[in-house]
Symmetry: C2
């Protein structure tokens, strides 16, 4: 009996819990799909490690998901997309793969009016230049300012997502990109300032959406914030529709979770990013 | 011809660069010894991971060092000492092993006058209770207050070791231990306050010595700060002397470095912790 490919799940992986923001968007956009999430928490973070090491880990994650039979792979991690998309495409022939950078770059290019785009991400994603390249491919005239914000990753995992310390850290990272922010309580207006500042900020790391409130407070309402989780979910929906691999509408999607380290910690911190309850009993421990 | 055991080196490992503070103390205390340092940067940090995972990684690090022939192993990582000392002793029979927790606990017990000791460390070290147990073994009447300070690890690696943000983060972590610190510009006096506060702070993570100035500013001069790097170096010297394994005084010690990820990043960030210049060319890349 042939396998009904449409009934296979969507595989999603990340270095840890941040990718759950992408999973959450996928669950909202595609409620009839089964999802299988793998967080490589034993080796997180990926964002301060070399492309060689990240590619090795990403291939192991993809192989583990592929063994469980999936119809599409989502790289829910900007660093892994930047460092390993090509390796994964070569290593998983025939498996459709969607990363988070392409959809994020696309949304930014649609949103900007003054063609100045700021990207914040991990050290590795910024050094790799993947966002810069993806944006220039779509909009060669755009000016891209990139800023590594390494500390926001552990801050999100510590559950520090607002308050004066978080705001001070965010200001320190954003100041070189948006100019002197110390008296910008009313928010920046990129149009008023003669187009000096970017009018669009791409959250180029899946750990950053929880800081949206802080970024909004610092930058005001006139800087457009792009969260690539939503746009990635849309790209996955389009890809599955094009391949005729969408589940029937009467299917109630199931989601399973795997982690490479402590299930309890994964569930406890994962809830923040997933935005819904998660218990250790729902999480399977796997060894890569 | 039998191997001259005394001429073998001292093996030192850590999850990354923090253990270089211990290596630095060893190099000062034992200038005639050869040292071989391994930083498992591909999988850092250990401090937010489970004891099972940390023990697995620690055994791999020890095996890599043992292959290169060493006469003594230093676990220059509080988390690995807390989670894996027993596994390492079982896995490396005949190899003398020195961790950082015993010497740190000993120094704290000598320093405290009011028998109240504060320990700050990673989440994993605190949850494991290794310092609490080691201190109580030496001084059952001591009260130990333990506080996880997870964010200080990535802050040190980001090179943020002083300034207002670092001070705010340190205050936030220290406040539950030392009471209201907001107006303690003159420093705490544990004696004056009727012995309510600990009079001794153990830096239970090798990433924390660079913050000594900030801690001193917040706590004043009357709280004794224990940096276990120095006491660990002393314990290693005593162990080697006891085993008659000290190098002859005319030997000029050589130090070699190994890392499991990007050599350039290891050298760049490692310099902060080592306190002397380090170039990527001095660092060998190894795969565990």
């Amino acid at each position: 009996m042939p396998v009904d490919a449409a009934r296979l799940g969507i595989g999603v992986f990340d270095s840890g819990m941040g990718g759950l923001t992408v999973l959450s968007a996928l669950m909202r956009r595609l409620p009839h799909e089964d999802m299988l999430y793998l967080g490589d928490t034993a080796r997180l973070p990926y964002g301060t490690k070399s492309p060689r090491t990240v590619a090795k880990y990403a291939l192991q994650c993809a192989a583990t998901l592929a063994e469980r039979r999936i119809k599409l792979l989502v790289i829910a991690c900007n660093t892994a997309t930047a460092s390993a998309l090509g390796d994964l495409e070569a290593g998983c022939p025939g498996l459709p793969i969607v990363g988070v950078i392409g959809p994020g770059a696309q949304a930014a290019c649609r949103a900007t009016k003054n063609n100045k785009i700021a990207v914040i991400a991990t050290e590795s994603t910024i050094n790799n230049g993947a966002y810069q390249k993806a944006i220039h491919r779509l909009k060669p005239e755009a000016a891209v300012v990139a800023q590594a914000c390494s500390l926001l990753v552990p801050m999100a995992e510590e559950g520090w997502m607002d308050g004066s310390i978080v705001e001070a850290v965010a200001r320190r990272y954003l100041a070189p990109v948006f100019g002197n922010l110390s008296d910008s309580a009313a928010g920046l207006d990129p149009a008023d300032s003669g187009g000096a500042y970017p009018d669009c900020l791409v959250l180029g790391c899946t750990h950053f959406p929880p800081f949206t409130g802080v970024f909004r407070k610092i930058l005001g309402s006139r800087v457009h914030i792009v969260d690539s989780a939503e746009t990635t979910a849309e790209a996955v929906a389009e890809a599955l529709a094009g391949l005729k691999l969408l589940n029937p509408q009467n299917n109630a999607g199931q989601t399973r979770f795997m982690t490479t380290d402590d299930e309890g910690r994964f569930a406890r911190i994962g809830e923040f990013f997933l935005g819904r309850p998660l218990s250790a009993g729902q999480v399977e421990l796997v060894d890569l």
